[in-house]
Amino acid sequence: MIKQELCTVVSQSQIAKDIYELTLSGELVREMNEPGQFVHLKTGGEFGPLLRRPISISSISKDTSEFTMIYRAEGKGTKLLSESSSGDFVDVLGPLGNGFPVEASEQGDTVLLVGGGIGVPPLYELSKRLTAAGFTVTHILGFQNKEAVFYEEYFNSLGETYIATADGSYGTAGFVTDVIANEGVKFDILYACGPTPMLRALETSYGKNKKVYLSLEERMGCGIGACFACVCHTADDPTGYTYKKVCSDGPVFKAGEVVL
C-alpha cells in the first residue's frame, strides 16, 4: 500500500562526485516488498520546489525499518535534499510502482544486471535478493567517468562486477553493451536500469532471445497513476492509444512490452 510519511534521516553521505547515499527510517518500509520500486520525495518543505522527485529504493532493511537511496544532486530539488542531515525529516510518498520480478529467474539461470549511472542503485537490492536466492549474478555498471563510480565494492561482494566508463578513466572504456560483447558475458535473464538509449540497445540485442526486464525513467507529476504525465505506448500498438504508465504500471517492464 502507498503511504505518505515524514521519514527521519538516519544518515546521508556523499559517495561519489555529486552522488549521495541517503538512508531514511519510517513505517512505510513495511510496505516495501519488491526491488526496483521507487519513492516520490518532497524536497525542502513548504518553500522547496513544487513537485516531488522520484528516486529508486536501493536497499531495504525491514528489521530496522530503514531504506536507502542513492541519487545525483544536480537540480534544485536534489541539491536541497543533499543538505538534509541525520534527524531531519523528509516527506516520502511510497513505495510506488512495480519492481523487478525476482521470480522470473528460474533455477539454473545465470543472471545479468546492467545499470547505467543513477540507474545503478535499484540493482543493489535486486542483486542482494537474487544472490540470497542462490543465483549467480554478474553486474555491469556504466558511469560517465571515474569520479562518478559508486558501490563497486558492494556489487563485487555479491558477484562478478564490471565497470565501464564513457571516458575510459576507469574500467572498460565505452558502454555497458561493449562489456557484454567484449567479455563474452553469458546470461539467461537480464535486468537493467539506466538511460533510455542503453535500455534500447539492450532490448534490440537481447529482447527477443532472453528474458529481459527494463526499468524506465520518465518525468512525473503525481507518481501514482493519476495525471498521465508518464505514459508510454505499448509495443503491440505503437502509434495507437493504448498505453502504460511508467509510475504505476512500471517502472519495470518486460522487454517488448512498451515502446522505449
Partner: protein, 313 residues
C-alpha cells in the same frame, strides 16, 4: 459539516472542495489513499469522443511555484469512460462533474449528450480552454461568439447543468464569461492553465515534447483571483474557482473573490491528501474568521455579503 454545504446548479455539495479535472484521473488512484466520499465532488479527466493518447513525453516540467503540463487530453474515450470509469465511481456518494472536450463542435455535442445521461454525472464542465491541443480548442476558448454557440449547442443536448471552463489566455475574460452566459451556461469554472514554456539549460530545447504547455500551481493564483473577482461582478453565474489552491486559506481567497466552490489541481501531486486536509481545516478557519457558513464568503471582496441562491429551476 453544515457550514460547508453548498448548492449549485445540478450540484448539492457536502463541501465546496473537489479535485480539478486532469489532476485526479477518474479517482481510482486516490481511492487507494483515502475515502473519496469525503469530497464535495469530483471533476473527472477530460473525455473525448474517441480515445486519445495525447502528446509525446516529457509532458510535465517544473517551474518556480508552478508546473507545465501538455498531457494533450489523453483519455480512454467516451465509451470506456461511461462503461468503466463512471460505473466504477458509482460506489461513491459523490457528484461527478464530467469534463467534456473535443476538436469539433459535433464531438463536444456528442460527448455531452451521452455523458450527461450517466447516473452520477450531475454537471458538465465544458472544456473550451485546453491549451494543449492543436485543433479546435483555441477558438472555442478565445472567441466569444464561438464559445457562446458551442455552449448553446451543448445546453440543447445536456441533461444536466453545464459549467463552462474559461481560459485565462484572453484579453478580456469578462467578455468571454458574458458570452457563455448568453449561450445559456449554468455556471463557470475558472481558470484553466496559462500558456507557458520552459527551456533546458543544456540542450536549449523546450523541456516539454509539445514545446509549450499549461502553467498551473501557486504561481497562477493571483491571476485566477483577479479574473474571478472581475467576472463574478459581471455575470450572475456561480463560479467554481481554481488555480494554485493548496490550503484552506487559499480557498477563502477564492470565495472572497467570488467563487462558490473551489477545485484543487496541481496540489494533489504535491500532497495526495490535500483535499481531505483542506476539508478538515476549512470549518475551523471559517469559525476563526467569524463566519457561520462558507456561502457568506462568496464575493466579499467586492461587497456581495448576502447569501446566494443559485438554483434557477
Amino acid at each position: 459539516m453544515k457550514s460547508l454545504e453548498i448548492s449549485l446548479p445540478g450540484l448539492f455539495l457536502k463541501n465546496p472542495i473537489m479535485p480539478a479535472s486532469g489532476c485526479f484521473g477518474f479517482g481510482r488512484e486516490y481511492s487507494g489513499l483515502y475515502d473519496l466520499n469525503q469530497l464535495g465532488a469530483i471533476m473527472i479527466k477530460a473525455t473525448t469522443l474517441e480515445p486519445r493518447f495525447g502528446n509525446p513525453t516529457p509532458r510535465v516540467a517544473e517551474t518556480t511555484a508552478g508546473m507545465l503540463n501538455a498531457i494533450g487530453l489523453q483519455n480512454p474515450g467516451l465509451d470506456r469512460v461511461l462503461n468503466e470509469e463512471l460505473t466504477w465511481l458509482e460506489q461513491f456518494d459523490v457528484p461527478i462533474i464530467a469534463n467534456v472536450a473535443g476538436s469539433l463542435e459535433e464531438d463536444y455535442v456528442e460527448v455531452a449528450k451521452e455523458i450527461s445521461k450517466a447516473k452520477n454525472v450531475h454537471a458538465l464542465e465544458l472544456n473550451i480552454s485546453c491549451p494543449n491541443v492543436k485543433t479546435g480548442g483555441i477558438a472555442f476558448g478565445t472567441i466569444p461568439e464561438v464559445a457562446k454557440n458551442l455552449t448553446k449547442k451543448v445546453k440543447e443536448v445536456s441533461e444536466v447543468p453545464v459549467y463552462v471552463k474559461l481560459s485565462p489566455n484572453v484579453t478580456n475574460i469578462v467578455e468571454m464569461a458574458k458570452a457563455v452566459e448568453d449561450g445559456g451556461a449554468d455556471g463557470l469554472t475558472m481558470i484553466n492553465t496559462l500558456l507557458g514554456m520552459r527551456l533546458d539549460l543544456k540542450t536549449a530545447q523546450p523541456i516539454l515534447a509539445n514545446k509549450s504547455g499549461g502553467l498551473s500551481g501557486p504561481a497562477i493564483k493571483p491571476v485566477a483571483i483577479r479574473m474571478i473577482h472581475d467576472v463574478s461582478q459581471h455575470v450572475s453565474l456561480p463560479i467554481i474557482g481554481m488555480g494554485g489552491v493548496q490550503s484552506a486559506e487559499d480557498v477563502m481567497e477564492y470565495f472572497y473573490a467570488g467563487a462558490s466552490a473551489v477545485a484543487v489541481g496541481t496540489a494533489n501531486f504535491v500532497d495526495p491528501f490535500v483535499c481531505p486536509k483542506i476539508i478538515e481545516e476549512l470549518p475551523v478557519l471559517l469559525q476563526e474568521l467569524g463566519f457561520d457558513h462558507i456561502s457568506e464568503c462568496t464575493g466579499r471582496s467586492w461587497g456581495k455579503h448576502e447569501k446566494l441562491a443559485y438554483h434557477r429551476a
